[in-house]
């Protein structure tokens, strides 16, 4: 999913992003993956993709076990994140570069959680695994040797994360924007999940007042992000402007992490949160209003 646009081949630093430092090219990764102080991590939807071949020097994190609380529905607890990062050879000064399949869905999910816990230097490889493979870049099936480090996470930054009561409080507010980044068929309630994926809710539709801007609209055909001008036009056309409190949601919070990344870091919107409860929470909630 993505579109052919004029920005596809433009270097990252020429796309007008508010924070271009959070995005690196495949070429940058090829040059720097082995640098001291840099740790590349693959985070895929398909958790077996890493074993087929990955960026030399990259580790893999499993989103179903490493990046969530496996007991209650929540993001990874602070102590478990600290253990994961330490075991990954990451300390507080490490530059973490994330990439993955599906145009970086779960790489963005990992990025969001790392920012929630205050990691300073985390970046996403533009175009993700797909672009790396299609460019014929080097792959290996060898996992890197890792020297364990000690990591200390910050308390969670809740200015980046929306919970249900806050979303409920946004209904009807003209100074707030809810962005539903799912497909149009999910937005209308024609389907309850992306075709072929498990249904995780009782009701279809969307949160009243939300606008539908599918996550893939932020990407070019090759998986890279569109330019700031293109992103600005995309979001502002639907009333999602930087003066508003913006919350992005999808089904379980990973696609909305991708859109949150575009809004927060590429466009520099000051108040953007990811509602990771997303439609799986809202669409199962007794009595919650639903628009179709």
């Amino acid at each position: 999913m993505g579109e052919a646009t004029a920005s596809a081949a433009r270097p990252i630093e020429q796309r007008g992003y508010a924070h271009p430092e959070v995005l690196v090219s495949t070429e940058w990764v090829a040059q720097h993956a082995g640098d001291a102080g840099v740790r590349v991590v693959e985070v895929d939807v398909d958790t077996s993709a890493y074993e087929q071949g990955h960026v030399p020097g990259a580790l893999a994190w499993n989103w179903t076990t490493d990046l969530c609380d496996t007991r209650v529905r929540d993001i990874v607890p602070k102590d478990r994140l600290e253990a994961l990062l330490g075991a990954s050879g990451i300390d507080n000064d490490t530059t973490i570069v994330l990439y993955g399949d599906n145009n970086n869905w779960f790489a963005a999910w990992a990025f969001w959680q790392l920012k929630v816990y205050g990691h300073r230097d985390v970046r996403i490889m533009d175009g993700g695994r797909k672009k790396w493979l299609e460019e014929g870049r080097a792959l290996t099936t060898d996992a890197p040797a890792v020297e364990r480090k000690t990591y200390g996470a910050q308390p969670p930054d809740l200015s980046l994360r929306a919970f249900l009561p806050e979303v409920q409080g946004m209904l009807g507010r003209s100074d707030a924007a809810l962005v539903d980044v799912r497909s149009p068929q999910e937005f209308t309630g024609e389907i309850l999940s992306p075709p072929g994926l498990p249904e995780t809710c009782q009701r279809g539709g969307h949160i009243p007042g939300a606008v539908n801007i599918p996550w893939g609209k932020a990407c070019n055909e090759d998986g890279t992000f569109k330019s700031a001008d293109e992103l600005k036009a995309l979001y502002e056309a639907q009333g999602v402007t930087p003066d508003k409190d913006v919350v992005a949601y999808c089904r379980i919070g990973e696609r909305s992490s991708h859109s949150w990344f575009a809004l927060k870091y590429l466009l520099g919107y000051p108040n953007v949160k990811n509602y990771d409860g997303s439609w799986t929470e809202w669409g199962n909630l007794v009595g919650a209003p639903v628009e179709k």
Partner: protein, 76 residues
């Protein structure tokens, strides 16, 4: 460290169970992989691997057909 790369890419669009999907296959070393993604959703529906492209595609497409057949559509 053994170095590989992805080669012999082939991509085509199909309609399965009424849904448009993109079928991408390639080879890494001596193994073929096939990914099937929803064109509108951008979501990975299924993946298959095999010693040949045909084997990888067959595996991925069988899973795709099964999963898409189970996708319910509701009137809107």
């Amino acid at each position: 460290m053994s170095t590989l790369k992805a080669e012999d890419f082939q991509t085509r669009d199909l309609t399965i169970e009424g849904w448009q999907v993109r079928v991408t296959s390639y080879r890494i070393g001596d193994r073929f992989s096939c990914n099937v993604d929803g064109v509108d959703s951008g979501a990975r529906i299924a993946r298959g691997t095999g010693a040949t492209r045909e084997e990888a595609e067959r595996s991925a497409l069988e899973k795709t057909e099964r999963r898409l057949a189970a996708t319910r559509r509701f009137p809107v």
